[in-house]
């Protein structure tokens, strides 16, 4: 009886009212639904962002009246197979040379012929001026192995693979030997890959960067909503999903953070003054950082009237003159 008569310290928690329960249920369903929808959209965006079907190669250097050999090599570190052309440079008297070889890196959604960027014509002009050209398809494009497109984060390994091929791979023209000097020329996405690679590969002795972005994150945050007609707040989720699914760290695809590492090697930055995809301010930012490095040798050429990656098309012979003069100074005469 005494036990039953004792008071207890256990507090009885009150039950929620019907309104509170309904409010809670609504909040849970809404937040879960919104988060799930966002996650699904982010995964779909990531899948679209990193892969486009490759464009077939429809022209070869033979169309420009040049000799070439089809070669293949593997990217450094992850060993993806990359397809390429080696076009020997032409010397007076018709002799061929690979003494000075330029690695040419095309832009996004293109291939080594890059007809929209008129790259094949530029490769031909370089060869006619005595520079051999190694033009390859970046991973996931042209005839190279399928791979996610990462705006330079992975593609820098392709450029490094091209250097390895020139230095230690089977020579495409055994009778011509190996290159004495290697330079690089990149367009847009290819320029970013080239800068990221060259920053820690001293074998690339001179670099021409045409229409390169300074930092890919602001570019993607601006261009994805514009080109995909999606609200901008989906972009961070899409980039995060790409990071989880493909291991891409877009925060590391920052040529502006790497470009100072190129010094003291010479660097020529070319950019179209009418470029609306990658604004001229990106080239100016790259130039400012590159120039701030000790013992830097940097030049910036703003091509009046040129839109994105169209500087060669607009400037024509002047473009070839400037680029070949730059490589002659940097790599020595042929």
């Amino acid at each position: 009886m005494g036990r039953l008569g004792r008071s207890t310290d256990i507090a009885v928690e009150p039950n929620a009212s019907s309104f509170t329960r309904r409010l809670t249920a609504a909040l849970l369903i809404a937040s879960s639904g919104i988060t799930l929808a966002y996650t699904g959209a982010a995964i779909a965006m990531a899948t679209q962002l990193v892969y486009d079907p490759p464009h077939p190669i429809t022209r070869t250097p033979a169309a420009e009246g040049l000799q070439y050999r089809a070669v293949s090599f593997v990217s450094r570190q992850d060993h993806l197979t990359l397809k390429a052309w080696l076009v020997p440079g032409m010397l007076p008297g018709g002799r061929l040379t690979v003494d000075r070889t330029i690695i040419v890196v095309h832009g996004r959604d293109q291939n080594r012929a890059d007809l929209s960027g008129h790259l094949l014509g530029l490769e031909a002009d370089l060869a006619r001026r005595g520079f051999a050209v190694l033009a390859f398809d970046i991973r996931g494009m042209g005839e190279s192995s399928p791979a996610p497109q990462s705006f330079g984060y992975f593609e820098q390994r392709d450029v490094l693979g091209a250097v390895d091929f020139l230095q230690t791979g089977p020579p495409a023209y055994p009778e011509l030997g190996r290159p004495r000097a290697i330079g690089g020329l990149g367009l847009s996405y290819g320029a970013a890959s080239l800068i990221l690679a060259a920053a820690h590969e001293p074998a690339i002795r001179a670099i021409v960067s045409d229409s390169c972005y300074a930092d890919v994150m602001p570019l993607l945050e601006r261009e994805i909503p514009r080109q995909a007609h999606l609200p901008g707040f989906l972009t961070p989720g899409g980039l995060l999903a790409a990071s989880v699914i493909y291991g891409i760290d877009y925060g590391q695809a920052r040529p502006v953070a790497a470009i100072a590492g190129i010094a003291p090697r010479p660097l020529l930055i070319i950019h179209g003054a009418a470029d609306r995809d990658t604004p001229l301010s990106d080239a100016e930012a790259l130039y400012a950082v590159a120039r701030s490095a000790p013992d830097s040798h940097v030049a910036l050429w703003e091509v009046t009237g040129a839109t994105h990656a169209q500087a060669f098309h607009v400037a024509g012979v002047e473009y070839v003159d400037r680029v070949t003069a730059f490589f002659n100074d940097a790599l020595g005469a042929g």
């Binding site: 928690e13 009150p14 039950n15 929620a16 509170t20 329960r21 409010l23 809670t24 249920a25 909040l27 849970l28 809404a30 937040s31 879960s32 919104i34 988060t35 799930l36 966002y38 996650t39 995964i43 899948t47 892969y51 992850d78 996931g140 192995s145 399928p146 791979a147 996610p148 300074a214 930092d215 994150m217 602001p218 945050e221 601006r222 901008g232 707040f233 989906l234 961070p236 989720g237 999903a241 989880v244 699914i245 493909y246 291991g247 502006v256 604004p279 301010s281 990106d282 930012a285």
Partner: protein, 98 residues
């Protein structure tokens, strides 16, 4: 108190596990080429997130059925926390152009 945070803890733990498993799937699939790697990673991620959603939903339902005021309060906080990543994408500034 920890019991009332069970849905949140379960969701967070399973998301972390899913991300780790996706990275493993990607690594394992890499030797079979991009398409296998991609399909394996996406499948792992989607499967993991589906299981996370089910486990989170079940944990919420069990807490909801207890019907106490404190449980409802914890569930409302949970709902807001789950929404925070999406809300952040709306309010956080984008990367400034260099």
């Amino acid at each position: 108190m920890i019991g009332r945070l069970a849905p949140l803890l379960i969701a967070a733990g399973m998301v972390i596990l899913t991300i780790a498993l996706t990275a493993m799937a990607r690594t394992l699939g890499a030797s079979w080429g991009f398409f296998v790697e991609r399909d394996l990673a996406v499948t792992t991620l989607v499967l993991g997130l589906t299981l996370t959603t089910l486990a989170y939903g079940l944990a919420c339902y069990r807490l909801f059925c207890r019907g106490r005021s404190a449980d409802m309060f914890a569930l409302r906080i949970t709902a807001l926390v789950v929404l925070i990543p999406v809300l952040l994408t709306l309010v956080l500034p984008q990367h400034p152009a260099p």
